[in-house]
Amino acid sequence: MKGRRFPLWTAFGVVLVVALIAGSGVLSQQPPTAAQRAVAIESALRCPSCEDLSVAESSASTAVTVRATVAQLIAEGRTDQQIESYLVDRYGSSIVLDPPASGWSLLVWLLPLLGGLAALAALGGVFIRRRTVTDTDPTGPGGPRLAPPVLEERRHFLVQSLADADAEYLAGDLSDKDYLALRHRDMVRLAALGTTATTATEVEAGQGGLPRTGVVVAVVPSAASRTMSRWRRAR
């Protein structure tokens, strides 16, 4: 299962990168026409006398003048950068719709990037944590080091499950075979948690906390100890 998941994600990533590169037009060899350049420049400029409208979108007289100026400067052979500088020289940097990547305006560019990275890190953390919890065999050698609260929660769940099985068996809702199978399953899991708890307890030893394994020993009947012993011998 794991072996198949990785290539799928890799393939998805490769397709995404290829699509982005192809869509961005960086591979296109055809230079833009004067009209295409004019539209691109005008779309990146703010209409001087409007609120949040580009020169390309506005019909205000100032926008019309800027459009005529852009066309004239293109005809004179100026580069896009020179045309932008020409207008910034007159109207200031606010004529450009995209804020400059310097000074305080740099925050506008950096904050979304940092936010995105933080979100990715958080998402990765959640995936790794979930994978550690679900994919690791608790009875296998060197089981996961679970945090004490998680351990306690699982232990409580298993103890409750055992009590439910007892109640259902006594009520006659479970057959002998099913009851024994359920009990054996939970006992094995509980025993595995007991071993893991020893590992977790070692981590918090020095903090004055009681060993959590004591809980398991106290609530689990002798069968649990036998199961645990059998499991330990099996290792």
Partner: protein, 191 residues
């Protein structure tokens, strides 16, 4: 659940949510501090890029049909007013401009020049006649003078020093007294 009557210690509490909240609060406080200390968008005297530089050339046809060209070094202060007949604030500052021109007419240390901004010649002419304007008013039909001065809104006024540098840019209605202060300051700085 207890172990042989001994109470278990409470499970350790994770503080990640608290740290995230503190981080968000610090970022929000930083942004508020930055925004609160920035100068307001609409200040009377703005830092137009043209201020401090030599004045862009002004030449063209006047409403009277004659040609006008501002000398590179005019030899006296020139107050350039961009206006339109549809601009109410321009109409309200009009009498102040007339007053300023009248006060400096004899001393000849300053003069007025108007430029029509996004308006028809007929409407602009009627507006100027109503105010009793006697100084040249350029039509600027292509809007190139406004573009060279970075005019975004009306009323916009620029003060050009005798040596041809732009010493002030104002984007609100001006008064004769306010213009006199700008002239006095510019004179003192370059005395």
């Amino acid at each position: 659940v207890t172990d042989a009557g001994v109470d278990l210690e409470p499970a350790p509490v994770r503080h990640s949510a608290r740290w995230v909240a503190i981080g968000v609060l610090v970022i929000a406080a930083g942004l508020i501090a930055v925004l609160a200390t920035r100068p307001p968008a609409a200040v009377d005297e703005v830092q137009n890029p043209v201020v401090g530089r030599m004045a862009p050339p002004i030449s063209g046809e006047t409403l009277a049909g004659s040609r006008y060209s501002l000398p590179r070094a005019p030899g006296r202060f020139v107050v350039v007013s961009f206006f339109a007949s549809w601009c109410e604030q321009c109409q309200s500052e009009g009498p102040e401009l007339v007053k300023f021109q009248f006060q400096h007419h004899r001393s000849d240390d300053a003069t007025m020049l108007s430029v029509v901004f996004s308006d028809s010649a007929g409407d602009a002419r009627a507006s100027q006649q109503q105010l009793g304007v006697t100084w040249p008013t350029l039509t600027d039909s292509g809007g190139t003078i406004a573009l060279d001065y970075g005019v975004r809104q009306l009323p916009s006024t620029f003060v050009i020093a005798p040596d041809g540098r732009v010493v002030a840019s104002i984007v609100s209605p001006v008064t004769a007294a306010g213009l006199d202060q700008i002239l006095a300051k510019a004179t003192a700085e370059h005395a």
